[in-house]
């Protein structure tokens, strides 16, 4: 189902990004220019740029998709993604800017005088950014597939190429304007369709969907299956099938009994009105009552709900301060005060944005039960406009959400790739624009190949894991490094290794399919609930045992972190 307008919107976003990015080429001269755009970005522009960089595939597609699939409890991700900026504002923004390091590894070495710690921090940068980048590319695959059909690898490769070229040529000066533009594009692209659909959709009053009933097709519905699925039918139904069902090619009416049916890729099934919507076999079927619960589900199941919810809240609330691609932006503030102003505006802008994924989830539940059937819940923001609004309006609105989604992948992937390339060139290999460019290309190629391999995990869950790892590694490093004079490099390294290692291991085991029920599912799938305390306890404990390693000039370092610029001696203002 090729939609020229949708495809055009995606191309337009890519072109505008490239043009705006290219303007930066003339300005970018040194590695410092590339990394922090020479620190001349005013707070409101900077705040838009940070939001542009932050609102990723997870925010634009993933939250609505996960809330549609697993229930409204998934909105905790959105709340945590925004609330994390309050932690950043109140505990990190100004001191980090005043300290005057370019990256988290710079901060780690500058604060604790250990080149070894710097390398450990660099490895964590690569792990976190890598985990974060995979779902962005996955989302791009989904969006392009939605627009032009065909395999999803096309979108993955297109995004990979655009981002790598943009960064290798433009650096961050260009990117700042691009990111700021992309925040506003994303806000318009999600807000306008959401508001128009709210007005348009003659959804039934919410009361009939209350209670135990699963979602029902209100009208005769054609469901397309872009990928092969196993589908669970609740009640015997006669459909019109075009494609492969249970291994047999069909083209005509077909009676489907209750139970699992395998559906081939590219199949279309037309269900009569009034049928309960079948689900993907592996997903739980939620009644409205279950769906509206404010607690987080793991893979659709309620497993120790309070612990799972706290796991998500902790990871997102504390994870935002440990995201390398966001922190690097704070050095583009003029001073500590400007960093605070920027962060408080970011919080406001994010709060405005996150209202809309929730609206999409609610409307999707009422209007698009076929997404449960085809297992395409992550694409609700992309397809709902076309399903709920007829004709040209639907196409225009879906072109708008496709453009916003592509902007989301472009901006976040650019930021992540800059951080990875910066980590490799600046922190591992030494400095230089040439090295930075080569690192950007290398990291881009590696992650694009990685994204072609993974798949099938909800976008938002993947991003949530990147937050959990950040919350268990860089969060304690930054909070303790800024506020506690007693931190030592040995404590920091052990904390990074245990916290970052344990959370990464939990995530990898979950991806490998280990621990699907009971406490293992919670502790491995939402690791932050124990790995964050573990990382803090380790850093404090080991530091107390290695007091001799407290840097001798720790007072001077704390001055650099906390002294307001206006009372600062010139030689310490970095």
């Amino acid at each position: 189902m090729t939609e020229p307008l949708v495809l055009g919107a995606i191309v337009a976003v890519a072109v505008v990004t490239a043009v705006l990015g290219a303007r930066g080429v003339r300005v970018a001269r040194t590695p410092a220019d590339f990394l922090v755009a020479a620190r001349r970005v005013p707070p409101t522009l900077n705040a838009s740029a940070i939001c542009g960089e932050y609102l990723s595939a997870a925010s634009f597609l993933g939250i609505a998709g996960l809330a549609l699939q697993d229930g409204l409890g998934a909105l905790w991700y959105a709340v945590g993604y925004a609330a994390g900026y309050l932690v950043l504002l109140a505990a990190v923004a100004a001191p980090l800017r005043r300290f005057g390091a370019y990256t988290i590894p710079d901060f780690a070495e500058g604060r604790l005088d250990s080149p070894l710690l710097r390398r450990a921090a660099t490895v964590m940068v690569l792990v976190i950014c890598g985990f974060y980048l995979l779902p962005q590319l996955q989302g791009a695959g989904l969006t392009v597939q939605e627009a032009v059909g065909g395999p999803s690898w096309i979108g993955v490769v297109v995004l990979g190429v655009v981002v790598v070229l943009g960064i290798a040529s433009g650096g961050m000066k260009g990117i700042t304007f691009v990111q700021a533009f992309q925040y506003w594009l994303k806000l318009v692209a999600i807000a306008v369709p959401a508001l128009v659909l709210l007005l348009l959709v003659q959804h039934p009053a919410l009361t009939p969907v209350h209670g135990a009933a699963p979602p029902v097709f209100h009208k005769a519905t054609r469901v397309e299956f872009p990928d092969a699925e196993s589908m669970r039918v609740q009640r015997a139904v006669t459909v019109r099938a075009v494609g492969t069902v249970d291994g047999i090619r069909r083209d005509g009416t077909l009676a489907l009994g209750p139970g699992d049916h395998s559906i081939g890729a590219g199949t279309t099934l037309s269900f009569p009105a009034g049928t309960p919507a079948p689900t993907v076999s592996s997903d739980a079927l939620l009644s409205y009552r279950q769906w509206e619960s404010p607690l987080v589900r793991i893979g659709g199941h309620v497993i120790h709900p309070l612990a799972s919810t706290y796991g998500v809240v902790l990871a997102t609330f504390l994870g935002a301060i440990g995201l390398p691609h966001i922190l690097v932006r704070f050095y583009t503030n003029r001073d500590g005060e400007a960093a605070r102003k920027t962060t408080s505006v970011v919080l406001l802008l994010l709060a405005c944005f996150y209202v809309f994924p929730a609206i999409f989830a609610l409307l999707g539940r009422l209007e698009a039960p076929q997404l449960y059937t085809s297992g395409q819940t992550d694409s609700v923001v992309l397809v709902l406009p076309r399903l709920a609004a007829a004709g040209t309006l639907g196409v225009v609105l879906s072109a708008l959400t496709a453009a916003g989604a592509f902007a989301a992948f472009l901006s976040t992937s650019s930021g992540l790739l800059i951080s990875m390339a910066g980590a490799v060139s600046h922190d591992l290999l030494g400095r230089g624009v040439r090295t930075f460019r080569i690192s950007a290309v290398a990291a881009g190629v590696v992650v694009t190949l990685g994204a072609l391999v993974v798949g099938g995990i909800a976008i938002n869950v993947l991003v949530g894991w990147a937050f959990a790892i950040a919350a268990s590694s860089f969060c304690p490093l930054l909070l303790l490094g800024i506020w506690w004079p007693g931190l030592t490099w040995k404590g920091a390294i052990w904390g990074l290794a245990l916290g970052g290692g344990a959370s990464s291991l939990g995530v990898i085991l979950t991806i490998a399919g280990i621990g699907k029920t009971g406490w293992p599912a919670v502790l491995l799938g939402e690791p932050a609930i124990w790995t964050v305390p573990l990382a803090f306890a380790t850093m404090v404990g080991v530091s107390l045992l290695t007091r001799r390693d407290i840097p001798r000039d720790v007072t001077r370092k704390l001055l650099a972190l906390h002294l307001p610029e206006r009372v600062r001696l010139p030689e310490v203002s970095a």
């Binding site: 959105a78 706290y310 919080l347 996150y354």
Partner: protein
């Protein structure tokens, strides 16, 4: 740096402090410098904690209440699920207000600190 000193400046209009010579005191390896620094850090940490504790309470109490009072999880407000009203919008204004309030408080802490240094300089 265990001794605590309260940073408090008399109410008066001070000229903008740019490069206070008294800032040099902070770089001296004596106890006075350490006390000054730790009082600044404590004042700033105080502002941080008074913002983050209510925010954390807000985030952690709601799921707890939903577990303890199951009817809360399924309540509705004006035909919309309560969960949607809270997590889809209602929880953000308090967070944003806390953010802007912190910014004001933090810059007041720094103003007072600058005045304190200037006063010593007089």
């Amino acid at each position: 740096m265990t001794e605590r000193q309260v940073v408090r400046a008399p109410v008066r209009h001070s000229p903008a402090v740019r490069q206070s010579p008294a800032a040099g005191d902070l770089y001296q390896p004596d106890n006075y410098a350490k006390t000054l620094l730790s009082s600044l850090i404590r004042a700033q940490l105080g502002a941080t904690v008074t913002v983050l504790v209510p925010a954390a309470a807000l985030l952690l109490l709601y799921p707890l209440l939903a577990v303890l009072v199951p009817s809360l999880a399924h309540a509705s407000v004006g035909g919309l699920p309560l969960t949607f009203v809270v997590l889809g919008g209602g929880i953000y204004p308090p967070l944003v207000i806390l953010g802007f309030w912190y910014r004001r408080r933090a810059s007041r802490v720094e103003e007072r600190f600058a005045e304190l240094l200037e006063e010593r300089d007089d």
